[in-house]
Amino acid sequence: MKKKINRIKALIRKEFFQIIRDPSSILIAGIFPLILLVIYGYGISLDMNNLKIGLIIEDTSDDAISLKRSFINSRFFHIYESNDEKKLVEDLIAFKLHGIVKIPFYFSYYMQRPDLKGPVFVASDGSSPNTASFVQNYSLGAWQNFLAQKMVSSGSPPIPNVEAAPRFWYNEELNSRYFLVPGSIAIIMTLIGTLLTALVVAREWERGTIESIMTTPITIKEFLIAKMISYFCLGLGSMIFSTALAILMFGLPFRGSFFVLSIVSSVFLIVALGVGLLISTLSKNQFIASQISIVSGFLPAFMLSGFIFEISSMPVLIRAITTIIPAKYMVSALQTLFLVGTVKRLILVNVSVMLALAFILFVIIFLKSRKRLD
């Protein structure tokens, strides 16, 4: 037993030197998290408050002008007023505008007719559907402001109505950075756990160095354990670094407990490492291992984890696939720990699913690598 531990220690030492001496490991564990966090933290924003809208106003009535004012006053719009409709349409095609609002010359005339209503045309650039629906929603909002003001100024009795008072819990200012940064930490850890591990193990196979290891008393299990411990430490180091960046540089709140965070990240790293080891045991080639880990590790972590795209909106089949994506549980746990706090039940559920996934993975790895020794 003592011999065994000594062998593993020696292997870890070897692995440690390899990590230190190979710039690509440092690149992935140190520089890449920095790049990714900066880009996600500062670069990506889903907050639409600078929508460029072309405004054509052909009617000169007081109502039309008041409507125009409520569009200009909307904090979401940047209004370009013009009478050259052709030019505005060209700009919409050239991606220079997000929408065009038109108040036609017959606006006030139609308003006075009992059988007609004064139309306001809102054309959005549907080639970006998310932005287009924001254009439509905010236009509706501007129009409602106009209606409300008209009501007040006309002095007519107030119509009883229901007023929605929205409140966004845990992220009052709707800062998309608050959910993107924790999500990108999960992606970084997937990369270290899965991609890097798959590559380094596949490299041993490809270069034949694994055969020289097999001629020593080291068993394949010891070899895998040593790899795991080394990359586990690297991943945890990167996790601490990313969390520090998130809190100190991006000013994210951290409302949970650091102890729980370390448990959650350890469990997730074990799963991610398991995926990486499994990939490299199945394919002994670096190129293939990297492709498989991108398709099965990185992309799902990015696309299917609920990090940006809402899982409930996906088709049933893809929703079913997401249940075995470890990053899904990690993203949910991280977002909760950062923004909400230690919600016991949610964390417990997420951790136990990840543990179950880890268990299944290691059973498969164990079976596969034993076969190979025969």
Binding site: S24, I39, D125, G126, P160, W169, M303, F309, T336
Partner: protein, 369 residues
């Protein structure tokens, strides 16, 4: 001279395509990516579970809630009977939104006052929450105008007529799939180029190439042609899938698309060659490809609009060829982008291609000498 280059090109194709596993890897991941991306990458919000805490006993509140239950967006409505349950369900991500109606709701409405409805949303998913709020506001507006009509008030004498051009039903796939034509072409091209030299170097065959009678520029050409061919092939594959499987309308000029794709592939090859000339092993090459690709894709406007980014980031996208190519592809697919606009986006790609290829050649020669 052409004979030598031709021989090298043939050799390159054989190295890339001879291995079944590599062949599979070249073909299947892009297709898997295409399908996963196309179906999963949606910012639409559907099948949402919401919660209701109704402390009002009047008819009005249950009428309002019925409208939420009838909406297609909200697949399930859970009923709570305490504030504690609201907290519990939001915290555990069981519901995205809770509608809280307090006990004087109906009373207020009956006495012709404003009645407040509190909508509590999970800010952990602020984008989805905002979209859900949009749906909820529409339902409440409809309720308000019906109520006004019922009570004999004059309905509003103006109306907003919304139209979504180029994509009337706002189908999200029409947005993602054309973008993927660009992204997947990028991935394949950069992976093939960066690996080809790194592989030779790792296996030691690079020296053999150098002692052959070939000039460095001939070696470079021999390395780039297969990447151009395979990159364009992959692009064509995705293009066909977009048109024939995903049925994204294709309104513009196919010729212009291919011309810009060619320039785009050239600019990417420059990057691939540059990366592979600074890397010693395949692993280093792959990882640097990765480090290059993540920012390149994120800062291209593929998923999130460039104009939302801080100014410095917007500035840095100027050198990103993907940014221009995505505009071209999306424009040609949906908007029948006029030639002037295509040209405006092609010339930066051409400049970047010239710059990258020159730099890569220079680096390559310096490495050899």
């Amino acid at each position: 001279m052409f004979g030598k280059i031709y021989a090298l090109i043939v050799k390159e194709f054989i190295t890339i395509l001879q291995d079944t596993k590599t062949r599979i890897v070249l073909i299947s991941p892009p297709i898997i990516q295409l399908f996963i991306f196309a179906f999963a990458a949606t910012l639409d919000v559907e099948n949402v579970t919401i919660g209701v805490l109704n402390q009002d006993y009047g008819l009005q509140s249950s009428e309002l809630i019925k409208r939420f239950e009838g909406s297609r967006t909200f697949s399930k409505v859970k009923f709570f009977n305490s504030h504690k349950q609201i907290q519990e369900n939001i915290d555990n991500q069981k519901v995205l939104m809770v509608i809280h109606i307090d006990d004087n709701f109906s009373k207020n409405l009956l006495s012709h006052k404003k009645a407040k409805v509190q909508l509590l949303l999970d800010g952990r998913k602020s984008n989805s929450a905002q979209i859900v709020l949009g749906y909820a506001s529409k339902i409440i507006d409809q309720y308000n105008s019906d109520l006004a009509k019922e009570l004999g008030f004059k309905p509003a004498d103006t109306i907003v007529i919304p139209r979504n051009w180029f994509n009337p039903n706002l189908i999200y796939k029409w947005f993602t799939v054309p973008g993927l034509v660009a992204i997947l072409t990028l991935v394949i091209t950069v992976v093939i180029t960066s690996l080809s030299i790194a592989r030779e170097r790792e296996l030691g065959t690079f020296e053999q190439l150098l002692v052959s009678p070939m000039k460095p520029i001939e070696i470079l050409i021999g390395k780039t042609v297969p990447a151009i061919v395979l990159g364009m092939f992959e692009g064509t594959l995705i293009l066909c899938a977009a048109i024939f499987i995903f049925r994204v309308p294709f309104t513009g000029s196919l010729l212009a698309l291919y011309f810009s794709m060619f320039l785009f592939v050239l600019s990417i090859i420059g990057i691939g060659l540059f990366l592979s000339s600074i890397c010693k092993t395949q692993q280093q090459a792959l990882l640097s490809v990765f480090v290059f690709m993540s920012p390149a894709v994120i800062m291209s406007g593929f998923a999130t609009p460039i104009e939302n980014m801080p100014y410095i980031f917007q500035l840095s996208t100027i050198v990103n060829p993907l940014r221009y190519f995505i505009v071209i592809v999306r424009g040609i697919f949906l908007k029948e982008l006029p030639f002037v606009e295509i040209l405006k986006n092609i010339y930066p790609i051409a400049l970047i291609a010239v710059f990258n290829l020159t730099l890569a050649t220079w680096f390559f020669r310096k490495r050899i000498e």
